[in-house]
Structure formats: structure tokens, C-alpha cells
């Protein structure tokens, strides 16, 4: 177990390292000159040149990369070109909003997906099953900005139940979290269904039925209890799915998280922020995958530890 754990952690670190390399190479494709952006439009060529030296941008790429990595290890993500604030500070200020959004999204996807999957498995092959599966497919096929705008239109503008935009109490969180939850709910309905179908095929289910337990009782007690664990153990993987939606959803709802920060930075080519958010999001995904890898074998002994 310890070896398995150690191996997974080393792999995770290597992936993060790889991501720093790719991000670094990527942003160096930027045709815009960062030194010029820092200096401002009216700066003289001399000023731009001295800023270039100050930022170390005149060094060869490998040197720049290792300098970047050295700072990274000390928790220094660089400074925003435009806002002149430490990127780590900007991200830390925005992170709680994104984490709240993710927590809300996980709540909604489980709320939508698990019951839908259970009902579909219990009614396997019947109309309810087919309807739920098409709905689940629609959930994963729906563009998130359209879902967000639709929820905004119906529940905020027409019905007035929720605030339209921005950040505040729990009521502000509902619609953006639900937007992400619709996508995740579709995945969960499908996974929960197939997990339940597996369980309901087992011998002990037939035994329980033979001993006179009602169908509903068998599904709810024996089926759900065994079918739900392997699914919930994989919640960590959701972070990867949500990180993509975060940019769009935060933009649509004016939610002040790291997705909005990234979007604002991309529009102004504020490279250190783009790199910082990409890295933080990737680390989140890697940690999520790691947690799922570690938790799953405990919960589901059929998954072999390699």
C-alpha cells in the first residue's frame, strides 16, 4: 500500500512538472512583448530594454524556465504585468469563490445524478430508463453557457427566485453551481446506472429476493448501498471536468473565482496570471485524481492496487 501510494505521489509530481514545462513553452509563443506591456505604451526603447533585463526576459528560455521553477518552489508565481500584484495573492483571493462553486456543483450533480441512475437501473429497459438516459445524454451535450443563460432567464429574470449575477450568500451560488451540476449529473446518472445494474445482477440480490424481500427494498437497501460506493469514491475526478466549465460559468454569472480571473487575464494577455491559474487548476485536477486513486481500492476491493 505504501509503495502504491509513493508511486502515485511521484507520478503526480512528475505530471505537475510536465505541466509547468508545457505552460511555459506555450505562453512563450505569445507574439506580444511582455516587457513592452509592463512598460506601457509610451515608454522609450531604453525603458523597455531595462525592464526586459529586470524581468530576466533577455535570458535564454531554459534559464528563464529554471528561474521560474525556482520561484515556483518557493510559492512565487510571479507578478501580474498589468495589476502589479503577486499572482499567488490574486489567486488566493479568488480561490475560495471557486471552491465554493465546486462544492455546490458536486452537491447538485449527486442530487441529480444518483437518484436518476438508481431509478434507471431499477426500471432497466423500460420507458423511464430510456427517458432518463436520453436526459443524461442531454445534460452532457448541453453547452454550459446556454444552460447558465437558461437558468438565469427562467429563475432569475422571469421568476425572480435568485439574484441575477455576482457573489454573495448561498442564493448567489445556486444557479452557477446548478449549471455545472447539470453536466456532472449526466455523467453520474450513467455511472450510477451501470454500477447498479452490475450489483442487481449479483447472486446475493437474487437470494434477498428469494427470501421474500420486496423489490423496492432490495434496490434501495442492498442495491444502492453496494452500488453507490465505487461511484462516490470517484468524486475526485470531477475536478477535472469542472475546471473546464469554471471559466464559462464564472463569466456568465460574474462569479469572482479563478476562472473569471483567467478570462480577464487572457483578454489582456497578462501571462503570469494565465500561467498561474492553469497551474493551480492542473494541480487541483492532479490532486483530485490522486484522491480518487487512493480512495477507490479501499471502497471497492475489485479494483486492484498496482
Amino acid at each position: 500500500m505504501l509503495r502504491y501510494l509513493g508511486k502515485r505521489i511521484v507520478q503526480a509530481i512528475l505530471i505537475v512538472l510536465g505541466i509547468t514545462i508545457v505552460t511555459f513553452l506555450l505562453v512563450n509563443l505569445v507574439p506580444a512583448d511582455p516587457a513592452r506591456m509592463v512598460a506601457g505604451r509610451n515608454a522609450s526603447a531604453d525603458t523597455v530594454e531595462s525592464i526586459r533585463q529586470q524581468l530576466g526576459l533577455d535570458q535564454p528560455l531554459p534559464v528563464q524556465y529554471f528561474a521560474y521553477l525556482g520561484n515556483l518552489v518557493q510559492g512565487d508565481l510571479g507578478r501580474s504585468y498589468i495589476q502589479r500584484i503577486d499572482v499567488s495573492e490574486l489567486i488566493l483571493a479568488r480561490l475560495p469563490a471557486t471552491l465554493a462553486l465546486l462544492a455546490g456543483a458536486i452537491f447538485f450533480e449527486l442530487l441529480i445524478g444518483l437518484p436518476a441512475g438508481i431509478v434507471a437501473a431499477a426500471k432497466r429497459g423500460k420507458f423511464a430508463d430510456k427517458a432518463i438516459m436520453v436526459a443524461a445524454f442531454s445534460g452532457v451535450s448541453a453547452p454550459q453557457f446556454v444552460v447558465g443563460l437558461l437558468l438565469l432567464y427562467v429563475f432569475a429574470f422571469e421568476l425572480g427566485w435568485f439574484p441575477t449575477r455576482g457573489f454573495g450568500g448561498i442564493w448567489h451560488l445556486v444557479l452557477p453551481a446548478l449549471t455545472l451540476g447539470v453536466l456532472g449529473g449526466g455523467w453520474y446518472a450513467r455511472m450510477m446506472r451501470s454500477s447498479m445494474v452490475d450489483v442487481l445482477r449479483q447472486d446475493y440480490i437474487r437470494t434477498a429476493r428469494a427470501k421474500g424481500a420486496g423489490r423496492t427494498r432490495v434496490v434501495m437497501v442492498h442495491g444502492v448501498r453496494n452500488g453507490i460506493l465505487p461511484i462516490v469514491a470517484m468524486i475526485g475526478l470531477d475536478i477535472g471536468i469542472f475546471m473546464n466549465g469554471v471559466v464559462v460559468v464564472e463569466t456568465v454569472f460574474g462569479w469572482p473565482g479563478i476562472g473569471q480571473l483567467a478570462w480577464q487575464a487572457i483578454q489582456r494577455l497578462d501571462v503570469p496570471i494565465i500561467m498561474g491559474v492553469t497551474l493551480v487548476a492542473a494541480v487541483g485536477v492532479v490532486i483530485g485524481n490522486l484522491v480518487a486513486d487512493i480512495v477507490s481500492p479501499f471502497v471497492d476491493p475489485r479494483i486492484k492496487i498496482r
Partner: protein
Amino acid sequence: MPALESTSVRDGWRRFSRNRAALFGLLVIVVTVVVALGADVLAPYDYQEQHFEGLTLEGAPLPPGVPFLIGTDTLGRDLLSRMMHGARTSLIIGVVANGIAVLLGALLGTLAGYVRGWLGTVIMRFTDLMMAFPVLILAIALAAIIGPSLWIVALVIAAVNWVQVARVVYTETTSLSEREFIEATRNLGASNARILFAHIIPHLIPTILVWATLGIATTVLLEATLSFLGIGVQPPMPSWGNIIQESVSYFTTAPWLVFIPGAAILLLALSFNLVGDALRDVLDPTQRGRT
């Protein structure tokens, strides 16, 4: 998994056609293709013409009705005609971007699975890395950096979408190349090229077909998202995503401008997902992943 033959095609179609959701998806795709190809003839108006009678006296867009069946946009242009030309954009990107992604993914996956060694390891570790990458942030950053255009959007999507295909094809190739018939062919003196092209690749085609179909759904969604953010397909070329982007600030007063294209995106992506899923059941009942 059997290679495609005429009897298995007929048998497959029989099983596919029992799946009504997939038939519905196929119908939607066929209609979209016809509309996209014939947009110049089928569209009731020029998609760029700003009709004087296409706006109310106050200058607001018209809701669905006559003569503009699904309404007009904020410049008084016919929404239906714009949607029909937008279908063309969506399909071009769907086919081109996803085609490049599938080719690249299949090539790298086969290579890694067949050659293995250090090259295989490098390729597969790179896909691991790409899986952890926040794809949309990457795509947005790339599109913003290089500057938006139809072809750049297609390339960006391709750069992001090949990973999944590469992983599936890799797994398939490794298990194939350990099978007895490949071993037997090798013992008979067949060259690597012959084994690859005559024996391995034909067996990969069903898998690639499934992922190519599912991939178009992802591509359509990604294009719409990039265009919605204003870094995808640029006006005057209409795309379903940029029609929404142009009218999103009026969506409380002119909701049809957002929700009709939105529904079209959903329907097309859903259709490719339904067809891809049914294809997977038909072509390969053993393989069910998380898509």
C-alpha cells in the same frame, strides 16, 4: 472485435436501428448536413442582409413569426438564414478539427501501442499530462494568443481533442499485438509494416469510428464555447456560438436569439453522442467508458 464486413454491417445496422434514440440522432445529423450543404439555396434570405422591416419601430429585433420564421437579430437579419449558414460552420469545424484530432490520436496511439519502448512511454506519459490539463483554459489561451479565425479554432480544438483517442487506440493496440494471430503472422515472416496495416489497423477501425463520432459532439460544444467567449469564429461568418455572443446582452428582451441557437447546439451535440454511443454498443459490446 471483428473487422467490418458486409454481413456484419447489415447485422450491425439491424441492431443500431432498434435503438430509437440513435435513429433520431442520425436523422438530426442528416438534416443538419443537408441544411449546411444547401444553405445558399435553402435559406429564405441573404444571411447578411439587414432588413429594414426586420426591426420594430423602436429598433428592437422581431420575435418568431411571419415573414421571419424564427425572428431577426439585433441588426434586423433573418435568424433562420443565419442559423442555416451557422450549421455549415459548426459541421466544418466538427469534421476538420475532429478529423485532425482523430488522425493524430490514432497515429500516436498505434505507434505507442505497437512500438512501445521509450517512445511509447514518452507518448503515453504526455497524454497523462494532457489529461490533467485544464483543456478549456488551454484552448482559450491558445486562441487568444494566436488570434481567432475559423482554422485556428479548428487547430486549437484538434490540439486538445486527440488525447482521448490516443489513449483508447493505445490500449486496443497493445492488447491486439499480444494476440495469437499477430504472433502467428509475425512467425510467418510478415514485416512490421504489413502487420500494422494489414492486421492491426483494420481491427482498430470500429473503435476509431466510435470515437470520431463522439469527438464531433465535443468539438461542436468547444467551438460554440470559444465563439461565445468571442475568441472563436469571427463575424461576419455566422456560427451558432457567435450568434449567441452577439445577442447575449439582449437576452432578457430577445431570448429567442440565445435559446434557438442554444437548442441547435445541444441537439447536434446530443445527436452525435447518441449515435456514437449506439455505434459503440453495435461495434464493441465489451467497451464502455466514461463518455
